[in-house]
């Protein structure tokens, strides 16, 4: 077993209304960032865990997403090994 830091991105399903994205987009525009054409807001979740291979670490995490971390009705998710920079200490 060795330890892995996994990064999960949970993103609102395309086409679903994203109120947070909408509000932030609006705010950015009123701050003068007028080249912004769209904003979507999701979650970035970092999970540190023990597993015996990167593959099994990823598989286990995808399983967590289906079970708990993502809402299958409204969200898509994406799992990968986090590199040093991203993994918060």
């Amino acid at each position: 077993m060795s330890s892995y830091s996994i990064e999960i991105r949970v993103i609102p399903r395309p086409g679903l209304l994203d109120p947070a994205g909408k509000a932030i987009h609006h705010a950015l525009q009123s701050l003068g960032y007028d080249t912004v054409s769209d904003v979507r807001v999701g979650k970035a979740i970092y999970v540190d865990l023990e597993a015996d291979s990167p593959e099994s670490a990823i598989a286990l995490t995808e399983n967590m997403c289906q079970k708990l971390l993502a809402n299958p009705v409204t969200e898509d998710f994406n799992v990968r090994i986090a590199d040093e920079v991203e993994a918060p200490a």
Partner: protein
């Protein structure tokens, strides 16, 4: 304007060329749209030709159960809807009653059962959003929310997932809008395992002169789309909301609607400003069936016609067809009819609130619901037959034999305690249906707007009316088990309990809204439940002089053929003339006398006791004497006005023992002890835990006991002192001839307060995966 060009059938639709790219209409397509062959023939009659695909979509939405009330309209005619104080009855976005001092109260209840079963958080949130819009489109500022919920038993992870999702959805939306939640109810019972019930009720306050209707008056006036943009959300939600859930409804479900309470808050402020600005003649929520229902209903109501251009509707996604735009159920949108020439002023008001308003069409005089896409007409339907012409049915109703057998069951063997009575009592008190609902309403802002005088936790919620001495009270009630066992009686009890809950806070019951949650009415035993419930509700409302000013019907609440308990939720409002009369349920001080108004009986049918202790839903529901209830209501109000009561509490689920505990515990901050002795010659179980109707538990200062007796007598209400309020230390004691309950006050309090939290902490509250497999 004249109705004549708009009589059903008087108008025929001119030819409309099919839009290229649209599917051809086959029997299968018609069926997918939820229309029966005969209903489709009716469409062809109305049109005088075959409909286009877009037109078919419009009909399927308007003639769905949700919009068209196919299976309930005829029954709803039985309900009393009139009284001198009723300003607007059923048919509008919300009912409106006169409450004096120049004010009116708009209120309505709405269901979001199916969306909540699919996505509990968004389903519940958008349910609250919808009922709020129904109320503020009347020109009323929402002042209170109530929520009436039903779930399966909490030992299922999926149920916990649904329950916690629904509660945060209800909470987050109302909290963000700044509308206090003042009450509601929740029941947990296997009977709701497959189909949770999520009904939300809203009360709004308006100055009489600000009342506005959802009408498209004034030929030439301008239709404007206001608020959020239109996306592909929940297309065919209205039809969907009228279908049974099944395994594959996961696949076939429309895209979930996501709520945006922030946008709705802006829309609320903008709408109220619009309504008082004089620039508009009508405004309506784009709720179920979106633009289609709002536009056609506004035209239908005022006997005019409308023409609108789908290319002018602000959209969130590209490439949307007229069909999609017409049927989208994107939230936080309004349809406004502006005085022609005032469009700029309307836009200005919306812009101030950082929202959009676009001209999308106009009011016409030809009685047609006409949709164009740029130069091309894509739909042209006579408006009145579209809104009023939906075929309605009287179904066959037969009571199921299974239920008859359950009701006939002999329960005498359960009349005596088996095992330790203290344990039995504490188990009952700790059942999720009896225990404190604080876990829920702690997540709801109950004090915003600084008007809440009685918060959730009492018999009814109370909101004072600023600048007057008045307050309004509201409650929701329905015990689905009673209705299941005997629909007529169950519905009468729902109305009677609501009225008792109101008088207990000092309010005079004034009017109701109702939400009829039932299974598939095409099944005779379900239609029987629906019919008998409406008849029972009508009888009680007539007798109590609480007319029905509106409501909502949610049918087909079934999963794989299994129906929910029939659940006709009653949302009742009452008026308190002087806030000094506001009364609470908790005992106030040691030494006060505890009196019982009404009689104990030998009934335990349909009780929580049977469900919790014997896993049984059987027997006849308690009998209800409506005349007696009426006398009881007046007696309690007289006592409150005489200022002699320290507390009042309705005796309902869990019976007398649980009601006494609720009064002793109060909000659990400073619980008190009690010593009660019951002399009735009844077996201990019905006496302590039976749910006999027509009972209210009051407490008063010993000097006032005589006055309470006198007022009870003069109103012909049985009354007796059953005990005394004690110090916390002296314990919780109830004795009967045969048996007695004796417990530590702190123990009773802990069990009552911690039951639901500990159930919810059992395992983390369910998971989406469990949710994904109904």
């Amino acid at each position: 304007m004249t109705q004549t060009p708009n009589r059903p059938g008087a108008l025929k639709a001119p030819a409309v060329a099919p839009r290229e790219g649209d599917p051809v209409i086959t029997a299968a397509v018609v069926e997918e749209h939820g229309l029966s062959p005969t209903e489709y023939e009716r469409v062809q009659q109305v049109m005088g030709r075959d409909p286009t695909f877009t037109e078919l979509g419009v009909f399927s939405a308007m003639w769905s159960e949700h919009c068209g009330y196919k299976n309930s309209k005829r029954l709803l005619r039985l309900l009393p809807t009139e009284a001198p104080w009723v300003i607007l009855g059923p048919g509008e976005n919300a009912g409106v009653i006169d409450i004096g001092d120049g004010y009116a109260l708009a209120f309505k209840i709405e269901s979001h059962n199916h969306p909540s079963a699919v996505e509990p958080y968004q389903g519940a949130a958008t349910g609250v959003g919808g009922i709020l819009r129904d109320v503020f489109t009347m020109g009323a500022r929402p002042i209170a929310i109530l929520d009436s919920l039903r779930f399966g038993d909490l030992d299922s992870g999926r149920v916990r997932y649904l329950f916690s999702g629904v509660v945060s959805g209800v909470g987050d939306y109302g909290n963000c809008m700044g509308i206090p939640n003042i009450g509601g109810e929740v029941y947990f019972d296997e009977g709701y395992e497959g189909n949770p019930i999520v009904n939300a009720m809203c009360l709004g306050l308006l100055k009489r002169e600000d009342l506005i209707k959802g009408e498209a008056e004034g030929v030439g006036n301008t239709l404007m789309a206001v608020g959020a943009r239109t996306g592909r959300d929940g297309i065919h939600g209205a039809t969907f909301a009228s279908e049974e859930l099944s395994q594959d409804s996961q696949a076939s479900r429309p895209r979930v609607q996501v709520g945006d309470p922030f946008t709705e808050k802006l829309l609320l402020e903008a709408s109220l400003e619009l309504i008082t600005s004089g620039h508009i003649v009508g405004i309506q929520d784009m709720g179920a069936a979106g633009i289609t229902s709002s536009a056609s209903e506004m035209a239908g109501r005022s006997g005019t016609g409308v023409e609108l251009d789908t290319l002018l509707v602000p959209v969130r996604e590209s490439g949307m067809t007229p069909y999609e735009i017409l049927l989208s159920e994107s939230q936080e949108r309004m349809l406004v009819v502006a005085h022609v020439g005032h469009e700029a002023e309307v836009k200005a008001i919306l812009e101030k609130w950082e929202l959009e308003a676009e001209v999308i069409g106009r009011v016409t005089d030809d009685g047609m619901f006409r949709i164009v896409e740029g130069p091309n007409v894509v739909a042209e339907i006579p408006a009145l037959p579209l809104t009023e012409g939906c075929p309605t049915y009287e179904r066959e109703g037969v009571e199921s034999e299974e239920v008859q057998a359950l009701r006939a069951m002999d329960l005498s063997e359960f009349a005596h305690a088996d095992g330790d009575l203290n344990e039995t009592f504490l188990r009952l008190l700790g059942s999720a249906n009896i225990a404190s609902k604080q876990w829920i309403y702690r997540q709801y802002d109950t004090t915003v707007r600084t008007g809440t005088a009685v918060r959730p936790g009492g018999d009814s919620g109370v909101v004072r009316i600023r600048g007057t001495k008045k307050a309004v009270a509201a409650t929701t009630d329905c015990n689905g088990r009673y209705v299941y066992l005997e629909p007529g009686t169950g519905a009468r009890i729902a109305v009677a309990e609501a009225a008792r809950n109101l008088v207990c806070v000092g309010a005079l019951p004034t009017a109701i809204t109702n939400n009829l949650n039932f299974g598939n009415p095409l099944k005779p035993h379900i239609y029987y439940q629906l019919r008998e419930s409406v008849i029972g509700m009508a009888e009680a409302c007539r007798l109590f002089e609480t007319p029905v000013t509106g409501g909502n019907v949610s049918l087909f609440n079934e999963t794989d053929g299994v129906a929910i308990y029939p659940t006709p939720v009653v949302g009742m409002v009452g008026i308190i003339e002087d806030i000094k009369n506001i009364t609470h349920q908790a005992f106030r001080s040691a030494g006060d006398a505890i009196l019982l108004l009404g009689d104990n009986t030998n009934e335990i049918g349909g009780s929580e006791y049977l469900y919790v202790l014997h896993d049984l839903v059987a027997g006849a529901p308690p009998s209800v004497d409506l005349m007696g209830e009426r006398r009881l209501q007046h007696a309690v109000l007289a006592m409150i006005e005489a200022g002699v009561l320290q507390s009042a509490h309705d005796v309902s689920d869990g019976g007398l023992a649980c009601a006494i505990a609720e009064c002793a515990i109060g909000d659990a901050e400073a619980p008190l002890g009690v010593e009660v002795h019951l002399v009735d010659a009844l077996p201990e179980i019905p006496l302590l835990f039976g749910e006999a109707q027509g009972r209210i538990l009051v407490s008063c200062n010993p000097e006032e006991v005589d006055t309470v007796f006198r007022l009870a007598k003069s109103h012909g209400v049985p009354c007796r002192q059953i005990g005394t309020v004690k110090e916390r230390e002296s314990g919780f004691k109830i004795s009967t001839a045969k048996a007695s309950i004796s417990a530590e006050v702190d123990n009773v309090t802990r069990i009552f307060m911690e039951a639901i939290p500990s159930l919810m902490n059992l395992v983390q509250s369910g998971t989406p995966e469990e949710e994904a497999q109904p």
